[in-house]
């Protein structure tokens, strides 16, 4: 697909990185402030969608990106399941047991497994939404060809 005008491209260049960083911040502070994996994941996917819409991309690159995002999505949910299973093995034998030390509530590294869950759910949501968007664009390109 084609990109947009030079004004849009320049603005996107300035904004997209900040949007991406904001999404990462929302994911990492999910156990301290409003937000978390779901909100941050959608914001991260939004920064990628912004870049694709503004700059455009050719067909082969889109297919390659779609393959990458599908891989990340499946890996993230597998790691999420694995982290939940570690409670069965190492903890007290409970699925989703939070057996890491909790630390001081209110600090960035605290709450045991919750930040890790947040990170992997964030990757999963971001990759899923990016995959859906890329699939729609690839369908349009294939029809136009």
């Amino acid at each position: 697909m084609k990109g947009m005008t030079v004004i849009v491209k320049k603005t996107t260049q300035l904004i997209a990185g900040i949007v991406f960083l904001y999404g990462i911040y929302i994911i990492l502070h999910g156990h301290l402030t409003p937000g978390g994996g779901f909100a941050g994941g959608v914001i991260v996917a939004g920064s990628f969608i912004l870049l694709i819409l503004a700059y455009g991309s050719d067909f082969l690159n889109l297919v390659k990106e779609e393959r990458g995002s599908t891989t990340y999505e499946n890996l993230a949910i597998l790691v999420f399941l694995f982290l939940a299973l570690t409670g069965m093995v190492a903890g007290v034998g409970i699925f989703f047991a939070n057996w890491l030390p909790h630390g001081t509530p209110g600090e960035l590294v605290s709450a045991g497994f919750l930040p890790l869950y947040n990170i992997f759910v964030g990757i999963e949501v971001a990759a899923s939404i990016l995959t859906i968007f890329l699939a729609l664009i690839i369908f349009k390109e294939e029809v136009l060809k």
Binding site: F38, P105, G106, V125, I129, A135, F139, V143
Partner: protein, 112 residues
């Protein structure tokens, strides 16, 4: 109590759209309206008068908080809603490519 009734009327408006409209995109919009009214109802149920947002300040703990359970349920439901809406749009665009129209009655006549 008024706000519960208004919320349910919003649900009924969405249901009316699903039953009577003939355009597939309008049916998708009506479905998301029904979805939004469900989210709003769950959030309304969890509200407590004078409650704080469910984030604990360890230095100065408040006694009353808003119920966090419906909020956690709605949080997951919103993201699922996005995925299902996208899947609905995928089905709709595929139907449009095959039949060339969004009108469900015309698609029914063209079948076979």
């Amino acid at each position: 109590m008024t706000v519960y009734w208004l919320c349910f009327i919003l649900f009924l408006v969405g249901l009316y759209g699903v039953i009577t409209r003939r355009n597939l995109i309008k049916i998708a919009i009506s479905l998301s309206v029904m979805e939004f009214s469900c989210f709003l109802f769950l959030a309304l149920i969890g509200y407590t008068e004078g409650g704080a947002a469910p984030i604990v300040d360890t230095a100065d703990p408040v006694k009353i908080y808003v119920d966090p359970l419906p909020q956690a349920m709605v949080l997951t439901a919103i993201v699922i809603g996005l995925a299902t809406t996208a899947m609905l749009m995928a089905v709709i665009i595929r139907i449009y490519r095959k039949y060339g129209t969004f009108d469900i009655r015309e698609i029914n006549n063209l079948r076979g």
